[in-house]
Amino acid sequence: MVVPLEYYLGVSVALFSLGVIGVLVRRNVLVILMCVEMMLNAVNLAFIGFADYFKAVDGQMFVFFVMTVAAAEVAVGLALVVAIFRNRATVYVDDLNLLKW
């Protein structure tokens, strides 16, 4: 009846790897930020699966805090994207090589 823990972990691993692919392959910084969100979401899913497995509420607390950090990260990250776009008129990470040695 209940969903086994392995299913949650499997979906979590798959979503996290998809996020890794997106971060490594895509050039658009907005899509990269979205893939980071997807990875955070995958970790949240693992937390919820474990919380259901142990019948404890602590895993859900951690998801709550991860969501808060994700919201803060997106606000600052998108502000950075807007600031960079204003200065360099690009959102592609290839063109942002100022700090490249």
Binding site: Y7, V11, K55, A72, L78, V82
Partner: protein, 166 residues
């Protein structure tokens, strides 16, 4: 219930693939919203009703609206003419690394010795009440620090996105 989970997992994974491989960031964002809804459904199946609601309100509501807002603000008209398409070697190595990460995670999860599953929680206490009780007793300090973090994020975002610093 497992069938429902399978359907939700299929939706989540296919929309995740579409997020990564769509050309236009706007379409990626829309598929990411679908992904978030599917994951919220999985939270519901795991008896985490409060987190599912927060997922839809915060992620699908607030965060993705912010994303769409920025995408439309920047007005990227020509997504097709990417300056340089990613090098084929970069694509291959990125996907290889991701597969390696996945294998590493699967190895770790299969090697882990989990303790026995927990007992059924005491009846009469809903999910939201249990979370509220934990949030305002054991996790009171992190909860308050969270508000400071959000304040810092607001100030930082405003400062960064402002037109010109005096």
């Amino acid at each position: 219930m497992q069938i429902l989970f399978m359907i939700l997992a299929a939706i989540a994974l296919s929309s995740g693939v579409l997020v990564v491989f769509q050309r236009h960031p706007l379409r990626s964002a829309l598929y990411l919203i679908l992904n978030f809804f599917a994951v919220a459904g999985m939270y519901l199946l795991a008896h985490a009703e409060f987190i599912a609601a927060v997922q839809i309100i915060v992620y699908a509501g607030a965060i993705m609206v912010l994303f769409l807002f920025v995408i439309m603000l920047l007005n990227l008209r020509q997504p097709e003419e990417e300056a340089k398409p990613p090098h084929i070697l970069q694509k291959i190595s990125g996907i290889t690394l991701a597969v390696f990460v996945a294998l590493l995670l699967i190895y770790g999860f299969t090697q882990a010795k989990l303790p026995a599953p927990g007992k059924e929680a005491a009846a009469g206490l809903g999910n939201t009440e249990a979370i509220a009780r934990a949030l305002f007793t054991d996790y009171l300090l992190p909860f308050e620090v969270t508000s400071v973090l959000l304040l810092v994020a607001i100030v930082g975002a405003v400062v960064l996105a402002k037109q010109k610093l005096k």
